[in-house]
Structure formats: C-alpha cells, structure tokens
C-alpha cells in the first residue's frame, strides 16, 4: 500500500489521460473509460439540472392551492419531464456510467473495460436517447407521467408519447451495454490475486446492478415498443377499447421499473461502503454480508413489482404474496445499514465532505427504506398509495439516498478524476445545506400524503397549503446545496490544490496510481495480496 507523506507537496504528473491528447476528436472518439466517464458526467449533469428546473417550477406552482402559475397541461408536462429526465437520463446511469465507468476498471486493476468501443457506443446511444427526449420537450413535451399508464397514454393524450418512448428505449440500451461491459470486466479482467472475496464493495454493487440492467431493461424496451405500437396502430394489447388490458401494462412497466429502483440505489450503496471504510480507517464490518446483500437485493428486486399495484385491481392473494416478498427485500438493505454503522465502531473517524454525504445517506436511506416498508404493508398502502407519501418515500431513497451517494462519491474521487482537490469548507457547507434543504422539502410530504393529498395535482384544497409552502421553501434551500458543488468543482479545475496520488490515504488499486491516472492506468499489472479495506496496516491517516 502506498504511504503518503505530508511533507512533500504533491505535483501534477507530467502525462495523464487528460493531457495525453487534445481536441474535440480526441474526446468524441475516445475509447478510454475515464474520458467516457467524463462525457457521461457532463451529459448527466445537464440532465440533472434540467430535471431540477422542472422540479423548481413544480414547487413554485404548488406554493398556492390554485393552479395559477401554469395551465394544467403545462403542469402535467412539467412533472412528466421531471420524472422522465431524472429517472431515465440521470438516476439510472448516474453512478455506474460516471463513477463506475471511471473507477471500476481501476479498482480491478484493468487497463480499461472489456469492450471499450461498446462503452463509447453506450454513450452515443444515450445521447441519441437524450436527443429524442429533448426533441420531445421542444416539440411540446409529453404529459403522461413518467409511468405512461394506459389507456391514458395510448389512447387519450395527443402529445409525443411514441417519440419519448423511443428516447427511453435508447437510454435503456445504453445501460444494457454498460452492464454487459461491467459484468465481463469483473469476470475476466481482475488483476492477479484479486479474488471475488477481495473485490471492493463498490465493484460488488455495480456487478449486482449490471445483472439487473441486462435482465430487466429489455422488458422496458418491449413494454414501450408495445405502447408505441398501441398508440400508433391500436394493436389492442393495453387499451380495453381494442380488447387489451390496461393492468397488463402496469405489470410489464413495473417488472422493469421496480428493479430499476435497485439499479438506481445499489451503486450508491457501493459508494457508501467505500466512504465509510476510508473515513473510519476501518475494514468493513461483515464484508461478505454486505457483498451478498447486494446480490440478494438484485435477485429479490425482480419479485416485488406488483407492490406498486395493490389498489390497481390485482388479485388479493397475489397482493399478499407481493407484500411478503417486499418485506424480504427490505432485510438485505437493513443488513447493509447495520454493517455500515458497525464499521464506524472503534474507528478513527474524520468528517471530510465525502463522509458527511455518506452519513447523510445512511440517515436518509434508513427513513426512505422504513417508509418503503410502510408502503409494502397492504392495509397501509391502500390509504397512502398515489399520495405525496409515495413521493416523499421515493425521494428519500432516490435523492436522499442515490443523489447523496453520487455527490459523496464525486467528492471522494474528484481528486483522482481531476488531480485537484475541491475546496473543503464550501463543500462541507454544501453538504449541510443539501441535508437541511432535502429534509425540509420532503419531510412535509409524508404528512401531506397521510392527510390524503394525491400526487400529480396541479391545484389542491387549501388545508394542504402550509405543508406545501414548507416543501417549496425547502426546495429553494436544496437548490443552493446542488448549485454550490457545480461552482466549486468548476473552480477547482483550475485553482484547486494539487491532490497527489492518494489524498485520503485510502486503500484500493485506484489510489496506487497517479492522479489523474495515466491513459493506460497501470504501468505494470498490479498484484493483489490482501483483502480490501486493509486499513491499519501501514496506511497513513487522512490529513
């Protein structure tokens, strides 16, 4: 393990993947996983803020009970575009396509992913999908909700449902490619000595994610192709007018979209395992339990889709089976939370920015997960289904969980990616603002939901106003928390302190090479001789 000395001021390496080659071609035709990660990072950041603008407009409208800022149709388009952009163009690819793409090959000691050209192709396909999504928006938007329920989407709305469907199918293919690449890389390209039991947990969780990506995403494509055909040719699969069954659409949609929730959260869990260990200077507590809980989540995640449909007209007995299985999927998540907490026990904890995000993740994800159990409990779900309670739960997992993990990971690996440190003080402030703003935005929505405020309401009865105003106020705080990193990350590209190879004194192969890494990652093939997170064996502390 490399030992970092504090006395020598680190300098930027002379040659690295960023200055190896210049010009637009060198980026657009790159096969380097690190550069592709950056292409993804830039595209995803765009969609994150685009989705964020839609969210801001939604919260602005909901300040007052009357629907006075936008027309109903406009409002419906806003929440649809917010959902579609955030889920398919940000959350699903977020950690795997950026941090995963950058770090996973480094972590396994490989020169690149198994199929570098397919990796580049996945970004291009994502961009084609993104183009369709933007084209849909420019040509008037779509107002089906991100769930596209039939027969509303197929027979009643006159917006560009088919166009949007094509965009999402494309984005889906890009994640299939990413998943395929990760799986083959983990199987075939691990460094000598890097057994499965020595893989970093980030690799395990991305591996589990990849399994879901390649198994579930084709179902989304099938569903959306059928939807597009139904919309254009009325083939009679989902629309009862032509002999179809609208509930079938929900089964097919959630068969992808529930596992997709785990596509969105598992990589985040992997990030957290890296952060907690590093900033507690500890081995992870119960390595194999944390690793296998990822696989358990991936497997059980396929068996719970109908818990979105308890009041949709499914058989009561099947509802009970799905409720039971949903309880089962909560257990591996709980195991992870307990293990992370236990990892901190007797550690040597430093509260750097990535650690702040990690701790925020644990707290918010715990609330998100437990309210998920409330929703999986049948008698409870009847009342809160399709209300703001669901919105709050979902955002606790997706924003409180995934976005927090994403930001934590981005801060953690920023010095590796760019060779420079972000400024610590504003970063800590941003983490704090995000945490406060997030809770202020979404906690009131739990109460709103229990009171009965349905989701996707443009106007609402006035007794819900106080809580909605609180939520909107929180959203403006949250926006500051998200804008700050954008500013200081950009600032640090030029003015940030030079980071050195291993500013955190972290274990893991990615920290043994220069920051930013050379184009081919490792000058010689690394050999792994110890388990992951071997802190306390000559690894210096965080300074």
């Amino acid at each position: 393990m490399s030992t970092v000395t504090t006395t020598v001021k680190p300098v930027m390496p002379a040659k690295h993947y960023l200055n190896d080659n210049y010009g637009i071609r060198s980026w657009l035709l790159t096969k380097d996983h690190k550069r592709i990660a950056i292409l993804y990072l830039v595209s995803l950041t765009f969609f994150f803020f685009l989705g964020g603008i839609f969210a801001a407009l939604i919260r602005l409208e909901l300040l007052t009970p009357q629907g006075d800022l936008f027309q109903s149709d406009t409002y419906n388009k806003l929440f649809t575009m917010h959902g579609v952009n955030m889920v398919f163009f940000f959350l699903v690819p977020s950690v795997p396509a950026t941090l995963g793409n950058f770090v996973l090959p480094l972590m396994v000691g490989a020169k690149d992913l198994a199929f570098p050209k397919i990796n580049l192709l996945s970004w291009y396909i994502y961009m084609v999908g993104a183009f369709f999504s933007l084209a849909t928006m420019v040509s008037g938007g779509v107002d089906t909700g991100w769930t596209f329920y039939t027969p509303l989407s197929s027979g009643y709305l006159r917006t560009h449902v088919a166009l949007m469907a094509v965009g999402i199918i494309m984005a889906g293919f890009s994640s299939i490619f990413t998943g395929l690449n990760f799986i083959v890389t983990v199987h075939r390209m691990r460094a000598p000595g890097l057994t499965w039991g020595r893989l970093p947990l980030f690799v395990w969780s991305n591996y589990a994610t990849s399994l879901i990506m390649i198994l579930a995403t084709p179902v989304l494509a099938i569903t959306l192709i059928l939807l597009a055909l139904e919309t254009v040719f009325h083939i009679g699969v989902f629309d009862p007018k032509y002999g179809g069954d609208p509930v079938l659409f929900q089964h097919m949609f959630w068969f992808y979209s529930h596992p997709a929730v785990y596509i969105m959260i598992l990589p985040g869990m992997g990030v957290i395992s890296e952060l907690i260990t590093c900033f507690s200077r500890k081995r992870v507590f119960g390595y194999s339990f944390v690793a296998f809980s990822s696989i358990a989540i991936a497997v059980f995640g396929f068996l719970v889709w109908a818990h979105h449909m308890f009041v949709a007209g499914i058989s009561q007995y099947s509802a009970m089976v799905f409720s039971l299985l949903s309880m089962a999927v909560a257990i591996p998540s709980a195991v992870k939370v307990f293990n992370w907490t236990a990892t901190m026990y007797k550690g040597s904890i430093s509260l750097k920015t990535p650690m702040l995000y990690a701790l925020g993740f644990i707290g918010l994800f715990t609330i998100g997960g437990l309210t998920g159990i409330m929703l999986a409990a049948l008698g409870m779900d009847v009342h809160v289904h399709d209300t703001y309670f669901v919105i709050a739960h979902f955002h606790y997992v997706m924003v409180g969980g995934m976005v927090t993990a994403y930001l934590g990971g981005l801060h953690f690996w920023w010095p590796k990616i760019t060779g420079r440190m972000y400024p610590e003080a504003p970063a800590k402030l941003a983490a704090l603002i995000t945490f406060i703003g997030f809770n202020l935005t979404f906690f009131p929505q739990f109460i709103l939901g229990y009171l009965g405020m349905p989701r996707r309401y443009h106007s609402y009865p006035e007794e819900f106003q106080v809580l909605n105003v609180l939520s909107s106020a929180g959203a403006s705080v949250l926006a500051v928390g998200f804008l700050l990193p954008l500013i200081y990350f950009l600032w640090s590209l030029k003015y940030g302190e030079v980071a050195g190879d291993n500013p955190w004194g972290a274990t893991g192969l990615e920290w043994q090479i220069a920051s930013p890494p050379p184009t081919h990652n490792f000058h010689e093939v690394p050999v792994v001789t110890e388990e992951p997170y071997a802190y306390g064996e000559g690894v210096a502390g965080v300074h």
Partner: protein
C-alpha cells in the same frame, strides 16, 4: 393563506381508526430505528473521532450480530406483513349486506346512481352506521376513487367493475379525490362525500328526483334495445333465459363454467362472443358504443332484480342449455377447485 397545519386526516369510517392504529405502530417502528441509527452514528463520530493518540481497531465482523440484525428485522417485518394483510383483506371485501351504490368515473367527473334511481355528479350521499358498497367503473381512462377520511382507495378501471366499501361513522362532508393521474384536469376531478344520519339520508333520498328505480330504468332499456325478443323465458328463445341468472354458474360452449356476476353480464352485452352459453349460437350483436356505462349498470340491476323475483329459477328452466338441478353442485365444486380459468375466488371482479 390561513395557517392550518393538520397532522391527521379526519376519521369518518369504521376502518379509519384501524388504519391509523397501524400507521402509528409503523411510525413508531420507523422512528425507533431511524433514531437508533442516528444516535449510534452521532455517538461514534464523537467517541471515535480521529485523534493522533489512537488508531482504529480493526474488527472483521461478527456472525452473531449479523444473525441478530437479520432475524429481528425479519420478525418485525412479518408482524407488519400479517397486520397489513389482515387489514387489507377487511378493506377489500365488502360485506354481503352492504347498501349498493354505483359510480362511473370519466374525464373529469364522478357520476353516482343510487338503487332508487337518484343520481348525483361529484357528490355522493351516504348514511352513517351501515356498510356502503360502491361498484365502480370508468368510461375512459383509469381513475381512482379515494376518500382520505374513510382510508379507502381503489383504481377505477375502464374494462371491469371494482368495488370499494366503507361504513361511514361521522356525519359531515369529506373529500373525494381521483388519485390516479387521468389527464389534463386530474386535479379538478374532486368531489365530496356527504355523510348523513340515517333519517336525514332517508329524507334526502325521498327528495331526490328519480325517474324510477335503477331496475325499472334497466327494464326500460331492456325493452328499448330489443333484448327481450331473444332473452325470453320460453323454449323457443334464441338467447339464454335471464331469469335467475345473476350469481349462478353458467356452462359455456367450450365447457368452461363461469359465475354470472356484474362483469360477466357487462362483457356479454359489450362483447357477446367472448363467452357463448352452451347450446346457443353466437348471433348476438355487440352493444359497444350503444349502451352507456350507466345504462349497463341499470340493465345489470334489472337482471339482478329478475333473480330476486324468482326464488327458484331452475324450475322455470325452458331451454336445454340451462343447468339441471343436479348439475349445480358439481359445477360449484369445479369452481371451488379452480380447474377452469373463470373467476378465481378472492379476485376483484
């Protein structure tokens, strides 16, 4: 903006208090575990903060602890599952003696019909103290019948009837929301449920303008559409006799047996060839687009009415296709064994 900050919705049905009790239990569990984790983290970051004089103590894990924090959450989640499932079963299955009301959802309004023929739009009057079963269908997209004060919610589908039921307890006026996104004016598809004391309810019914009971309106449609020319109780009839049909098993031409419930009757009117009664020809034209959802409900009420008038409809049998008395038990057995694709018990029709 008035400063109102309620934390609980009103409790106005018999089930509301049960749902709230379950909710409080779940909130307690959630709070306990969230606090447990938060306090542990707080304690650890203070107690084990980085200091020059001590190093982290490396611990690999503990199988015992892993078992403990797998088994305890599993146990708790099973309690939650069972409690939730029992409550759900209660919420989803209307009692037999319920007052029956019919509702049709369409973009963007609710239309209700009472058995006496009274109709309302976006308002539903119900009495306290007795179970009310609302049979619901949508005319277009999926809607959702949600009354927060009653803690009941059901998606309302365009292709089959679903049922919601509740026993109102407190007179008053409560929100009725459509909670399944249904297009442009989704958030305007709200109405109110007015709960009245039984006397007031009776007075309201008496004041309501009605052209006649639902069944009598159904009978009128039955004549108007000429149903009566084929569906006659004599041997020369070209269609099955409908006397005593409702709620009975019917043998189809492909030898399946189905129960003649609301959904069966509705389908047979709109898509007559989907299920042909054994011994009959598929000659009935479709009434898709001819009869409104309200009309379908009225005709179904009429057919139900025919059943209640005939105490022993099997003695009236006039066509060879109807079931013989000794056949009925066998068919009921078949239904129970579920060896045919017809309605599964427990499935919301």
């Amino acid at each position: 903006m008035q400063f109102k900050l309620p934390l609980f919705p009103e409790q106005a049905s018999s089930v509301a208090i049960q749902v709230d009790a379950f909710y409080l239990f779940l909130v307690l569990i959630t709070t306990f575990f969230s606090l447990l984790i938060a306090l542990l983290i707080l304690f650890f970051i203070i107690r084990y903060r980085q200091r020059p004089d001590r190093e982290a103590e490396q611990i690999h894990g503990s199988t015992l602890l892993e078992i403990v924090w797998t088994v305890i959450p599993l146990g708790i989640s099973m309690v939650i599952f069972i409690w939730g499932a029992v409550l759900y079963y209660h919420i989803e299955n209307p009692p037999a003696n319920a007052l029956e009301i019919y509702g049709v959802g369409k973009q963007w309004m609710w239309k209700f019909q009472h058995p006496g023929g009274q109709r309302e739009i976006n308002t539903l009057h119900v009495p306290t103290g007795r179970p009310v079963k609302v049979t619901l269908i949508s005319q277009d997209v999926i809607h959702d019948f949600f009354v927060p004060a009653f803690r009941v919610k059901n998606d309302v589908l365009p292709n089959r009837y679903v049922y919601s039921w509740f026993t109102p307890t407190v007179p008053g006026s409560y929100h009725l929301f459509c909670s399944q996104y249904c297009g442009t004016k989704h958030s305007a598809m709200i109405g109110e449920v007015v709960v009245l004391k039984p006397d007031d309810y009776a007075a309201w019914l008496a004041n309501g303008k009605a052209e006649g009971s639902l069944a009598s309106m159904g009978e009128k449609l039955f004549q108007e559409f000429g149903c009566v020319t084929c569906h006659r109780p004599d041997s020369g009839a070209r269609g099955p006799n409908l006397q005593g049909l409702y709620g009975r098993p019917v043998r189809l031409s492909d030898n399946r047996v189905v129960v003649a419930d609301d959904n069966y009757i509705r389908e047979s009117i709109l898509n007559p060839n989907a299920k042909i009664v054994s011994g009959f020809q598929p000659i009935m034209p479709t009434f898709q687009g001819v009869v409104s959802e309200e009309g379908l409900i009225q005709i179904t009420e009429y057919i139900k009415h025919l059943s209640s008038q005939e105490s022993d409809p099997l003695n009236n049998r006039t066509t060879p296709t109807e079931l013989r008395d000794n056949e009925v038990p066998t068919i009921q057995q078949e239904l129970q064994q579920g060896n045919q694709p017809a309605p599964t018990p427990g499935k919301k029709p």
